[in-house]
Amino acid sequence: MTPSTKSGVPVIALTNIEKSFGSNKAVKGISFSINPGEVVGLIGENGAGKSTLLKILTGMYQPDAGSIEVNGKVVKFKNPRDSISAGIGVVHQEQSLFTNLTVAENIAMNSGKGSSASTKFGIYRWSQIYQAAKVTLEAIGSKLDPKAVVNQLGFVDRQMVEIARAVSADAGADGSSLVILDEPTSVLEKHETEVLEKEIRKLKNFGAVIFVSHRLDEIMRNCERILVMRDGELVADRKTSEVTEKQLFKLMIGHDSRAEASSRKSIDSKETAAIEVNSLSRKGKFSNVSFSVHSGRLTAIVGATGSGREELARALFGAEKIDSGSVLLDGKQINNWRIPKAVKSGIGYVPSERKIEGIIGGFTASENLTLTHPGKSALGPFLIPRARKKIAQDWFNALDVRPNDISQELGRFSGGNQQKVVMAKWLNSPELRVLILDHPLRGLDPGAAETVNAEIKRACKEGAAVILLADTLEEALEMGDQVLVMRDGEVTSSYDLAKQNPSTLDLLERMV
């Protein structure tokens, strides 16, 4: 935890690190070093080898070749414990806290060594554990209660606990510690991210920071230096001041951004809306929500945590109860709304909790893809494997899913590629009327995000009404034909983007 005293020695130095899985070379001869006090960005598309590299740094994988030096000493990590005691702490992409334990314990659990100060002969000294946690939390400027149980905390607070834990990894007596932030913002709302970024800047004081993110703007804002990986190689190591976002994008994916301005349709008011929501309420979640979405249009809903938009989206899919109000599909009122009925009526839902709600990890990609709408791969109750494979292969090609292997278990794909499959699952329905997307870009790299966005637009063009809960306000403004702003369960304003042109600030004002 002590700031570096030997400023000349890098906190971490990698030399020719290699790692293969079977014939697949995931990391090819990576070398770089990071000095104390540096915040270094690490970017790359999904599958570029970032995760593998991070797992090597955290002792989960052992490299096939190459060496790692920490504070000038050669180290070999046999397991996570070794890495932690060398002073490397991680804030994971997928949150990795023990939800059943207190904040203080989660911080203390980080290492056998770290907790030894608070235990004697294996006996817990709670007061010291709470005290130590309080000190660490204060050091990173958090006012969280060390005694709170994690499952009662929100996302940002949990992320703060992760950071506190990473920071508490014990550095050597004279060394500095390294904090790795593995896409810490990917699950956060924009404004939550801002809170977090402030913390990241403070982390320098503890040593060096590796910051992994898909959001190039974030990387540019927070890092002094940026490492770019592609296909397992380090393709660039640049000072932030010397590159532009566009250049980085190109380095990452090997070609220019295809982003294009969206053209917006105005509504034909005589046409019946694909979905019409009237005074929909659910006690404690949302109240009196009314809006309609026409075929071929996209409505983005924005709101802070607790605005009720997630619950609303789930209710529209029949996953949550409705207390009052009505929903009309193509002008027809629907009753007893349940998921099977929703699916049958042509509603698709891409959940934010992909791993929990969106996929069946143990099924192959092709099975997942044709699960809900088998299309031509089913004849009555019978499934036709060959037809299924063809459908899946077509989608894989269209969406550029990697690896291009439809018979692999979906659980093994990276997040972005899983999301593509989840999208395809709904897009495979010829009767898709309404597509509800809950944070579809969460955790996706720019390349995958671009593909998913293109698919959303295509579905829209082909006649689906799309309801999008966007990650960022920019995303909402870019994708939407209409933007609804929600606060405390109510719609505070609605913008028709064909006629109005609100700024992100306008939206923000109505969110809080």
Binding site: F98, M109, G112
Partner: protein, 343 residues
């Protein structure tokens, strides 16, 4: 914005009204409260059906009968907390009980090893638990399969030791009536169960072992990623469960004053439901010893009450099953997800 929203909710919590304190107490202890209520309701019903139910004698009797399942349930709680299950309990109990009796003054003769009889019996049980744990973690066989095998190993050990001779009786009367003697107003075996449960609770709350057990039960992968010694913890859990089964085996033989290889039959299937009713999640990571104690008392009260209430033996099994389901629904309704087993 979110920070303001958070601040708002934090303020709410901080300046909480007295009512919210009560509410949060209820929320945190919902299982303990609902299970206590269930016991209370059952007790009232049974007392109406037969006034002798509430007699001091019968309450002592209930505690006396709860002693053995309670000891077993404490071990089972540890195992279930890591998301595993230990089916070997009855076999391990038999092996330990048989070893104990044959090493103590008994009707077959032989040497009385005194204190060492306890040490060897519990040591044997702990060793069987150790093998279960090692097979489970190293060979990566699911715990219910490993322990099912260990059940028969224990039974086999007991059968070999039993041989074809007559049933060995404890010849020391002080020992064979120990279980029902009273101390502090409670039968000894229940007192022992309570001590084991309190020790278990202290272990869970105040030792690294206990906290790591909860962490492993919550998420094994994260525990590994945090550098915790997951395998060592799991093996330790099985050793402790084994040793506790050993204690239970000794208590069972002391209660009966004699031993045969099937001495433990039927005990596991009182203890396991009791643990779950007591609020321990089969998926691991969540549970308490207090809940386990109450769960055991609930089930013991149930079987005792049905006998006293003159329920025909033909219906008793079905009635107790029905009430058991009802009790589980009442106590577990708020926490239905813990009945989900993930592995």
């Amino acid at each position: 914005m979110a920070s303001t929203a958070n601040a708002k909710s934090m303020n709410r919590a901080a300046t909480g009204q007295p009512t919210s304190v009560v509410a949060s107490f209820i929320k945190r202890n919902v299982e303990v409260i609902s299970i206590s209520a269930s016991i209370f309701v059952l007790a009232i019903i049974f007392s109406i059906l037969n006034p002798r139910f509430a007699s001091v004698e019968n309450l002592e009797n209930i505690l006396n009968q709860a002693g053995l399942p309670l000891i077993i349930a404490v071990g089972a709680t540890f195992v279930i907390l890591i998301g595993s299950i230990d089916l070997s309990v009855e076999g391990v109990m038999s092996a330990a009980g048989m070893t104990f009796v044959l090493m103590t003054a008994n009707s077959r003769g032989g040497t009385d090893y005194g204190f060492w009889a306890y040490v060897v019996a519990i040591g044997l049980a702990a060793a069987l638990g150790f093998f279960s744990g090692v097979l489970f973690t190293k060979v990566k066989v699911p715990s219910f399969i490993v322990t099912l095998g260990m059940w028969y190993v224990g039974l086999g050990v007991a059968t070999v030791l039993f041989g074809t001779d007559t049933m060995p009786f404890l010849t020391n009367d002080d020992l064979s009536t120990w279980a029902s003697q009273q101390n502090l107003g409670m039968p000894n075996n229940f007192l022992l169960g309570l001590i084991v449960a309190i020790l278990g609770a202290l272990f869970l709350r105040f030792t690294s072992f206990g906290r790591v057990t909860l962490a492993v039960g919550n998420n094994e992968e994260i525990a590994r990623g945090n550098g915790l010694k997951v395998n060592r913890n799991k093996v330790t859990v099985f050793v402790i469960a084994g040793a506790i089964s050993g204690i239970a085996g000794i208590v069972a033989t002391i209660q009966l004053g004699a031993v045969n290889p099937t001495i433990a039959a039927g005990n596991l299937f009182i203890a396991l439901p009791a643990v779950v009713i007591g609020g321990t999640s089969l998926a691991g990571g969540k549970g308490s010893m207090l809940g386990t104690v109450l769960g055991v008392i609930l089930l013991t009260t149930l079987t005792n009450g049905l006998t006293l209430a003159d329920v025909s033996p033909n219906f008793k099994t079905a009635v107790s099953g029905g009430i058991l389901i009802l009790a589980i629904v009442i106590t577990a309704w708020s926490q239905r997800d813990r009945l989900r087993i993930s592995k």
